[in-house]
Amino acid sequence: MTTTALSAPRERRRDPRRHYPMWFYLPAAAVYGVLFIVPTVASLYFAFTRWNLSGAEFIGFENFALFFREPYLFQGLVNTLIYGALTSGLKVVLGLLLGVFLTSQIIARGYLRSVVFFPVLVSTVGIGVTFAVLMDPSDGLINRALAVIGVDGPGWLTDPNLALVSVALVDVWKGVGLATLIYIAGIVAIPQEYFEAAKVDGASSCQNLRFVILPLLWPATSTVIVLSLIGGLRSFDLIWTMTQGGPGFTSDVVASVIFKQYQAGFWGLSSAGNVVLFLLVSAVMVPLYWLMGRKEVER
């Protein structure tokens, strides 16, 4: 009897409905709903229309068929996958190596960490314009430096086979600092006992990396892969400022195709591009999440 009398007001105080009102969701939900959810849902309709200044006309799967039929659109699809895989793969490998190196006993560690990281914060447009100048085939700094050691540098951004890779390399240059930072945080969090145990067992530094650091760093690795894939598949800024998809359309990605079709007034096709990009990102990310979840359990 007494217990109920005591607990009743306490229950009321703890009642979440009183102190955590649902309307706290409202302002965010309004902005997010109107400017993100509504356009995303609308794109699912507009992707099936021929949409321009004169209005939207339903044409079924025609836009999607175009995406797979027209080389200048399909190339963008292939390039997006290449770009995403290349940047995220390189960021994992280089980020891990740099992370291990920058947590070891070396001089000037703080300086090196800052230097590797600071391009992350710099304007992508600024970096794009700068590297477009540095990668100039005849009087760019990179090819001049190569000429000094007797190498005939390629046309980084003018060679159709190389332009996409060159942009991807600049992307890695700019983004590897973030991957490194994530790996450093992961390595620092590994308890010292693991390394001591490995030392007692006589592990070499290679074995240390392969059998101690790498498995324990799985959360960091999955973060790097997810972040760089999401960024890489949607990447636009760097490609647009460095090559605008050129030469021809050899370095176009879906994001730049979307912009080009929008500028040309083919809004339906542009929206279809958005849906294609969405499906592409989901097709890559969903299996990845599933795979990562499994890996987590195995560990």
Binding site: A28, A255, N274
Partner: protein
């Protein structure tokens, strides 16, 4: 033995890092301080005649002080969108953590969707036009808020979990209503994560190029990233001015880094350890 190895590999790394990471920036600074004729050679060399101040004035005064106007626009955009983002995302993260109910899974799914789904551009313009917000600064502010919310909500929700519920209860006993409880008790306790959100998003919004390009085209309200993009076609023969422009636009984030590198590191690596 170990010590000398550390020194040797450190020295090699310093040289390598200088070549790979510092030379491009040195190139920006050097070209920005050259005269027009010398900059046109695009060599990596010290300028024979330092013209850094003249170039600075020329870039600032170009096209009727457009760069200054752009800095004002970018500042308004960055400050306004971050204030909104912090308040709205903190409210959501707080209620999501404190009051799990049948709506929470939906909210979770929407947060994840915001992180993964690429925004649909043309339909967004269509919506903005319907609201009369296309080509306006407030429109772009709301866009940045909408796209940034997911990341902020994740951080806030994780941080609210570390604040004991006893704090809430004490405030309630003292007679605080839900609004006061949040704004006067909880929000001040979120200070450290708010700094993280502010800095990470400030860099992201200030450096954003794609959204201004789509949603705020034209010279009227150009942001600094857009002016740089426009300057490029205008200054194809004046490399010194182009690189001075790059230099000026690069500086603000680097200043932030110098002052707040601890918060930046904390923000960007959150979740990396726990997964």
């Amino acid at each position: 033995m170990k010590r000398t190895k550390g020194v040797a590999s450190g020295l090699i790394a310093i040289v390598l890092s200088a070549v790979v990471f510092l030379v491009p920036f040195a190139f920006i600074v050097l070209t920005a301080s050259k005269t027009r004729g010398e900059a046109a050679l695009r060599e990596f060399s010290l300028p024979s005649e330092w013209a850094i101040w003249e170039n600075f004035l020329a870039v600032v005064q170009a096209r009727d002080y457009m760069l200054l106007a752009a800095f004002v626009n970018s500042t308004i955009l960055t400050v306004a969108s971050i204030v909104l983002m912090v308040v709205l995302a903190a409210m959501v993260g707080y209620v999501m953590q404190r009051r799990p109910n049948r709506w929470t899974p939906l909210a979770n799914a929407l947060v994840l969707a915001g992180l993964i789904i690429p925004p649909a551009v043309v339909p967004t313009i269509w919506v903005l036009q319907g609201l009369g917000l296309f080509r306006t600064l407030p429109g772009l502010v709301l866009i940045e808020v909408a796209y940034g919310l997911s990341f902020c909500v994740l951080l806030f929700r994780a941080f609210v979990a570390t604040i004991p519920r006893e704090v809430d209860e004490a405030a309630v006993i003292d007679g605080a209503g839900p609004v006061r409880l949040f704004f006067q008790v909880i929000l001040p306790l979120l200070r450290s994560v708010i700094w993280t959100v502010v800095i990470v998003q400030a860099v992201a919004v200030f450096n954003d190029f794609q959204n201004p390009l789509y949603f705020l085209p034209g010279d009227d309200h150009a942001t600094v990233q857009l002016t740089l993009y426009n300057f490029r076609s205008q200054y194809t023969t004046q490399w010194n001015l182009l690189f001075m422009d790059i230099l000026l636009i690069t500086v603000p984030p680097l200043i932030m880094y110098a002052f707040f590198n601890r918060q930046i590191v904390a923000g960007l690596t959150s979740g990396a350890v726990k997964g």
